[in-house]
Amino acid sequence: MGFSIYDFSDFINNIHAFLSETFSPVAGNIIGMVIVAACFLGFIALLGLSLVYIERKVCALFQQRLGPMRVGKWGTAQTVADIIKLIFKEPLMTKDSDKFLFNLAPFIVMIAPVMAISLIPFSKGLQAVDFDIGIFYIVAVSSIGVTGILLAGWSSNNKYSLIGAMRSGAQIVSYELSVILSLLTIVVLSGSLQLSVIVESQREGWWIFRGHIPAIIAFIIFIVASTAESNRGPFDMAEAESELTAGFHTEYSGIKFAYFFLAEYVNMFIIAAVGATIFFGGWMPLHIGNIEFFNNAMDLIPPVIWFFMKVSAIIFLLMWFKWTFPRLRIDQMLTLEWKYLLPLNIMNILLMSIVVLTDFHF
């Protein structure tokens, strides 16, 4: 079938052709979609399992302990055991909660990352959908999640949940601006919203190096703002277990709670993947200008490995934040966004435009 770890496009095209020939073109298309959807569901499940385990191990590393060690070798089966426990738990519900919205909320929270993940270019040719407005689409669907959080808080009939949800609403709506603007800074440089084109444009070198000062500022803002958008520490205002017990998911138990939990980790993956794609070249190996020898050596490492290496590095950075910093207060957090990050971001876009116009980048 012409499989190559360096370029998946032939492989994918061959499968597509095979399906179209065996069945009718329409049926082939539908079967292809189902296969892709199944692959993504499997991938998300695997992602959730492994990220929870990694988070616990990384957290243990920072806290000078071992983390899960008992279930399986080095505790690798711990998350599986946890998930089985969550599935068999009774789904509790408060008496006067809005049952329909209460049950709907976890799914809405989950829909957002699932919709966004289809646009991530994992490797050359390994991308489910390639819109020409890719970044716009990711930003748009990732804001659906806040609706789920607000619904969860509202329908729980619990004041802590409501406060958590309202905080979360204020937080996500504000920090979305910074995420969008920091991504647009790089779009100004690359000249396209399409993710595959953005990756391809970094063949000469990653944007974070070529875009120098404005690109680095944009990356820092992106990391801060997207941590806040995904409700992770030090911006986990919506959960804030020491203030609001568990925030918007206080009343959730069993598998519905697991959905919130899973959504957080998939969101984290998407942040890291988008960050890696926009700033660090996605699956593109590390290239330095025209040094042939170095570039060829780097090309030997398969692109999919490059992609996951970059994503892991950013995920590690996000976990590092979470387990080091104290939590901000809600008003301080909004001040940070509206008084510092947003003006800085707008200035940064202006700076980047000047850099692009004067061709002052590598």
């Binding site: 806290q63 000078q64 802590y160 030090p234 203030e243 104290p326 207060r329 809600i330």
Partner: protein
């Protein structure tokens, strides 16, 4: 726009924080009246862990009363025991051996250190930095190991008896304590790195939960919380007991009266505690570890009062005796109770997140409040 804002009807609402809540550290119930996230009123409701210790003391002998005090402020249990023993010794007019005084002082200061270490960890956790909790516990572990070896228990040590100590110190005690001091002197600056210098932490604590010196005095806020408001109330200085009259240490005073000052006061107090232990650890006099007492202690009729400095503040023990083998009435003036009373004063006008910080810097131990 402003017109619209004026026409929206808002309403204050109340919320129960506790008795089951992660940051009340026990079964304290706070009834908060809130306007949005801003606190209008804090009403503590007590009684969830009331075990009527004072009443139980009335049927127990004086040796047994000591045991009950472990269960009040469990993080400063050695100091609680010491307070009762000092009161009983005062009543008996009993002079305890020098060795006992010095050992009591050393273990008291170790208790204070371990309590402050735990407080530091919990303070970080309350503000969302969970890692600090584990760091605090890591260093506290060494102290509990020392206690385990010498006293036989890790938390409720019960090492004091009226007239002296339960038994002599373990031969390893001095060495291990010195090892701990060496270890902790390197680790305490790490605490500063993790929290004190952190921008988020200082933003969360500076100017939050202000308590003036006058209020601290009128509410009876003692201990590091009171001293952070400039209220000089260290019983170890004002009314020295055991071996505190012969050691050189500073009374930590801060004038700011906010959460950050209370935080700094405790960190500084840890340095002072280490200084006290260092002065005494090599100079433990030889001698008996217990003065001779009768098997059944009977205090002469009268009233006896002794106060000591626990990690949380001033603990007073008041005993009325009617010449029986059990006290007629025992009253504990617990520091947590008075400190909690100032919470409403400090928290008004701040946000829910600030309330957590304020409670954390008051270092509340609920069984101490609800005896």
């Amino acid at each position: 726009m402003e017109e619209v804002a004026q026409n929206i009807e808002t309403q204050e609402y109340f919320i129960n924080m506790g008795p089951q809540h992660p940051s009340t550290h026990g079964v304290l119930r706070l009834m908060l009246t809130l306007d949005g996230e801003i606190i209008k009123k804090v009403e503590p409701h007590l009684g969830f862990i009331h075990r009527s210790i004072e009443k139980m003391c009335e049927k127990d002998s004086y040796q047994q009363v000591v045991h009950l005090t472990d269960r009040m402020d469990y993080l400063g249990c050695h100091i609680n025991n010491e307070a009762v023993c000092l009161t009983v010794e005062k009543g008996l007019e009993l002079e305890v051996p020098e060795r006992v005084k010095v050992i009591r002082t050393i273990i008291s200061e170790l208790t204070r250190l371990s309590s402050h270490q735990l407080w530091w960890g919990v303070m970080g956790m309350d503000l969302g930095a969970i890692t600090t909790f584990l760091y605090g516990f890591r260093d506290r572990e060494m102290i509990t190991d020392i206690f385990e070896e010498t006293c036989g228990a890790r938390l409720t040590m019960n090492y004091n008896v009226p007239g002296g100590l339960m038994f002599d110190i373990h031969p390893n005690f001095q060495n291990r304590t010195k090892q701990f001091l060496e270890h902790f002197k390197k680790k305490l600056p790490e605490y500063d790195e993790l929290l004190t210098g952190n921008v988020i932490f200082t933003e969360r604590t500076k100017g939050i939960g202000y308590l003036s010196k006058e209020d601290a005095i009128s509410y009876g806020v003692t201990g590091p919380s009171g001293r952070a408001s400039g209220f000089s109330c260290d019983v170890r200085k004002k009314n020295p007991y055991s071996a505190y009259d012969r050691v050189d240490f500073k009374e930590i005073l801060f004038m700011e009266g906010d959460c950050f000052a209370r935080y700094q006061a405790r960190i500084a107090e840890m340095w002072e505690s280490m200084k006290i232990i260092e002065q005494l650890i090599d100079n433990i006099p030889e001698g008996e570890y217990k003065a001779k007492t009768k098997a059944v202690i009977k205090l002469p009729p009268g009233e006896y009062y002794q106060r000591v400095e626990t990690p949380r503040g001033e603990l007073g023990v008041y005993i009325i005796s009617d010449n029986k083998k059990n006290p007629y009435r025992v009253k504990f003036r617990s520091p947590g109770f008075s400190n909690l009373s100032a919470l409403d004063k400090m928290a008004r006008g701040f946000k829910i997140a600030d309330l957590v910080a304020i409670m954390s810097t008051l270092d509340l131990v609920i069984p101490d409040i609800d005896r």
